[in-house]
């Protein structure tokens, strides 16, 4: 499902892992339970904004699940990223209601405005653009979310103005 690039980026090498904190998440919040794997990964991603490889290897030992299986889960589900994301996450809704109201055109405007040229993240790490399938705010379509802010009934001509608000 997710496209995974095998090459490690420079950012990944630099990120420092707080193992005590990681241990606490796995043990105290999720009771070392392998059935909680998806939620543990979500907690790690909330903390580091992606899934650093080192945390996954530690997790494999800790909850006794093969690393290959953790990697499988990390790449199967769309919300997980094995690469660092930008400071601001733009989620453009690609649900059907937004699609028929011009969501695709808004996405194209965002890509153009940020010069993404097929990439997901801008070179300065300011933005990452993701498509989501329906956030359930269909009455406001087309909808784009930047971090936790929902911008509804957005026209292609308003994209630039909205993005300028996020540093």
């Amino acid at each position: 499902m997710n496209e995974v690039s095998p090459s490690k980026t420079t950012q990944e090498k630099e990120v420092a892992i707080d193992y005590l904190e990681l241990n606490k998440i796995i043990e105290e919040e999720f009771g070392n339970d392998k059935e909680n794997l998806i939620m543990i990964l979500q907690a790690i991603q909330r903390r580091y904004n992606y899934l650093p490889q080192a945390t996954l290897k530690y997790l494999a030992e800790k909850i006794n699940v093969p690393y290959s299986q953790i990697y499988g889960v990390g790449t199967f589900y769309a919300t997980f990223s094995l690469e660092p994301k930008g400071r601001n996450i733009i989620s453009i809704c690609l649900g059907t209601a937004c699609h028929v109201r011009g969501g695709e055109r808004v996405r194209e405007r965002i890509e153009d405005t940020l010069n993404l040229n097929g990439k997901k993240t801008t070179d300065d790490m300011r933005f990452t653009l993701e498509g989501v399938r329906c956030i359930g705010c269909c009455s406001l379509g087309p909808v784009m979310k930047v971090n936790e802010d929902v911008h509804g009934r957005i026209g292609a001509d308003e994209v630039k103005k909205v993005l300028e608000k996020y540093e």
Partner: protein, 634 residues
């Protein structure tokens, strides 16, 4: 405080029913589901809290979604002895003035008012007097129940959404909540509960449409630790009724699960909620904690030997996890791949044990059925589909929102009477039901009564109840391409017909949309579609060709126009149309020229403008902006 008996429940009901319907001072209720918050309800709520601090006789309170999302933010103002008024599009700027106008009995700004409530009670409050039954209504303000959007609705699953504070268990109890659970626990044998659900004719609201009672009975027959699972992985784009129920009335789902647990004999429940619904998770967590505090969830509930615990798990963005076996794999912390169902999940499901999985809306119906009886529920709907169904009416429709109507209501009734017809008076083209597994229904079937079986007959499905209205500006080939693109991303990839078949079909559709369609492509799509439908492992694959096949069946000419004439009359497929300015219609207002990001439009004020085709990127900004229909698709 633990609730031990129906008498305990009754005490809470009476106390909070009074608080709900006869508040001290004035109560201002804000519709604070995700949709309302996104429309600005939270900002208005905070502004109201700031301007009307506690203790001055005004309570600022939250509730769920009233369904009429188009008019959000919606607020309701309640005062004992006075009509209840619902205001629409109330933003931060208007809120203070609105509250003052209500306090001063000034209802002249009718634009702000959606309607006054005739009767706020739900169907389980027969014993309660209508709190506003004897109050003189406001003149010239319509009753909410008479407005076109609400007139034909019957609220069962949505009975409390927009009326109670979802974070307050007492308000749920005030409206008849948890009484059905106690009835199931004390007054019925498990077999009797199952029989009531069977007799009611309730069918799975998640899309499958399987008889809920039969499912419960089969699960109860199998031995081992049984599990009750709630599928809240509402993946169909364009459907958000489950989100609304979880955010507006979480206890109704918990109560439905508790009743299922009593009937089937289970002590462990699981909720699998979509990762995209953080507010739903938050409200569920609060609801479960409150139910635990009251002893409605936990060990030895109400002093009996029945125990039940509920765990919440979140998904991580995989559509296929709405499929029962994939969902159970995901609950186990694994990759969500479906398996063949030679052995059903009611026999061997989660952790290889008997597992009963129902959808949010299905569970929300259960307490109402136990309370009012199977005959009452079966009295609504059609021969094969009983009761009501919540639809999310979205897309190019005037009144976007959630509507709950009796099964068998016609599409025309839903789209034109309730929905107010197509947006901007454009021409209706199709309505898409059932999400990516469904189909596009053309105008000729608008008088069809919607139920599980009728939709299947014309090649679509009910699915979870999404209804996406499409108009003349929607390209049906592009819609088919859109759904296959969705399904290609979401296919788990383990079985060949789905993984490869969808990909090839998408390639052909993309080719057609880009203007490289060939003679024979339509027939090839039909052949491939037939193969994918017959040979795929799970529901995702077997239903994947539906959007393609229905659009071919009902809009074949549009496919041929793309392939033979290289034309997309809807103005969506970029290589197959261009914009131009109709010089006679153009007033020279300069709006399009100012908005064009490419500076492709030139012309003097009050003179017809010109569009430079070489510069145009077909972003549609001018087409949307023009108020005189002078930008045309050619």
């Amino acid at each position: 405080m633990k609730i031990e008996s129906t008498a305990d429940l009754e005490n809470i009901r009476q106390e909070y029913s009074n608080k709900l319907y006869y508040p001290d001072g004035t109560k201002v209720l804000f519709g604070m589901a995700s949709c309302g918050i996104a429309a600005g309800a939270k900002a208005a709520f905070e502004k109201a809290q700031q301007d009307f601090p506690q203790g001055n006789g005004i309570q600022i309170s939250q509730t769920g979604c009233l369904g009429f999302c188009e008019a959000e933010p919606l607020i309701e103002i309640v005062q004992t002895g006075k009509p209840r008024v619902i205001y629409q599009n109330i933003t931060e700027e208007k809120i203070v003035e609105v509250i003052h106008s209500y306090l001063e009995n000034d209802f002249k700004k009718t634009k702000w008012i959606l309607g006054q409530v005739r009767d706020p009670r739900n169907l389980m409050e027969d014993q309660v007097k209508n709190p506003i039954g004897e109050i003189d209504p406001i003149e010239k303000i319509p009753f909410l129940e008479d407005t076109p959007f609400y007139h034909n609705q019957v609220k069962i699953a949505l009975r409390n959404c927009g009326y109670i504070d979802p974070d307050c268990i007492e308000e749920y109890i005030a409206r008849g909540g948890y009484f059905s659970f106690f009835r199931a626990l004390f007054d019925h044998k498990p077999g009797e509960i199952i029989q009531i659900i069977k007799d009611s004719g309730l069918r799975g609201r998640g899309g499958g449409g399987f008889s809920t009672g039969v499912k419960w009975a089969t699960c109860a027959r199998h031995h081992g630790e049984r599990y009750i699972i709630c599928n809240a992985d509402e993946g169909d784009p364009g459907a958000y009724m489950d989100r609304s129920i979880l955010e507006g009335d979480p206890h109704s789902v918990l109560e439905g699960m508790l009743i299922a647990a009593v009937a089937i004999g289970s002590s462990h429940g699981f909720m699998y909620v979509r990762n995209e619904y953080p507010l739903a998770v938050k409200r569920l967590v609060t609801a479960i904690k409150q139910a635990e505090k009251f002893g409605l969830i936990g060990d030895n509930i109400a002093g009996t030997d029945f125990s039940f615990k509920i765990k919440i798990s979140t998904g991580a963005g995989a559509f296929v996890c709405g499929e029962s076996t994939a969902l159970m794999a995901s609950l186990e912390g694994k990759v969500g791949r479906p398996r063949a169902k030679y052995v059903h999940t009611v026999e061997k499901g989660f952790r290889n044990n008997p597992s009963n999985l129902n959808n949010v809306e299905t569970y929300a119906n259960v307490p109402a059925i136990i309370s009012k009886g199977a005959d009452w529920y079966a009295g609504m709907g059609t021969e094969g589909s009983k009761g009501t169904k919540v639809f999310s009416l979205v897309g190019k429709i005037k009144n976007t929102g959630l509507v709950e109507v009796a099964m068998g209501t016609t599409l025309r009734n839903i789209i034109y009477d309730i929905g107010g017809g197509v947006l901007k008076k454009k021409k209706f083209k199709a309505v898409q039901t059932g999400g990516p597994s469904g189909g596009c229904i053309p105008e000729q079937f608008l008088d069809l009564g919607v139920d599980f079986d009728e939709l299947t007959k014309i090649g679509s499905i009910m699915g979870s109840g999404g209804m996406i209205v499409m108009d003349q500006d929607t390209c049906m080939v592009d819609v088919a391409r859109y759904f296959l693109d969705f399904l290609k991303e979401e296919s788990c990839g383990q079985c060949n017909p789905c993984r490869e078949g969808i990909k090839r079909m998408l390639q052909i559709l993309t080719r057609i949309c880009e203007g490289h369609g060939k003679e024979g492509d339509v027939e090839l799509l039909e052949e491939l579609g037939d193969m994918v439908a017959k040979a795929s492992l799970c529901g995702l694959g077997t239903s994947a060709p539906n959007p393609v096949i229905t659009t071919i069946n009902y809009f074949r000419d549009e496919y041929y126009a793309h392939i033979r004439d290289k034309k997309c009359s809807a103005g969506v497929c970029k290589n197959l149309f261009h914009y131009d300015i109709d010089e006679e219609a153009c007033t020279g207002c300069r709006l399009c020229a100012l908005k064009c990001p490419q500076e492709a439009i030139t012309g003097e004020k009050k003179e017809p403008h010109k569009l430079d085709q070489d510069k145009c990127i077909k972003c549609s900004i001018c087409y949307e902006a023009c108020k005189f229909n002078a930008v045309v698709i050619k």
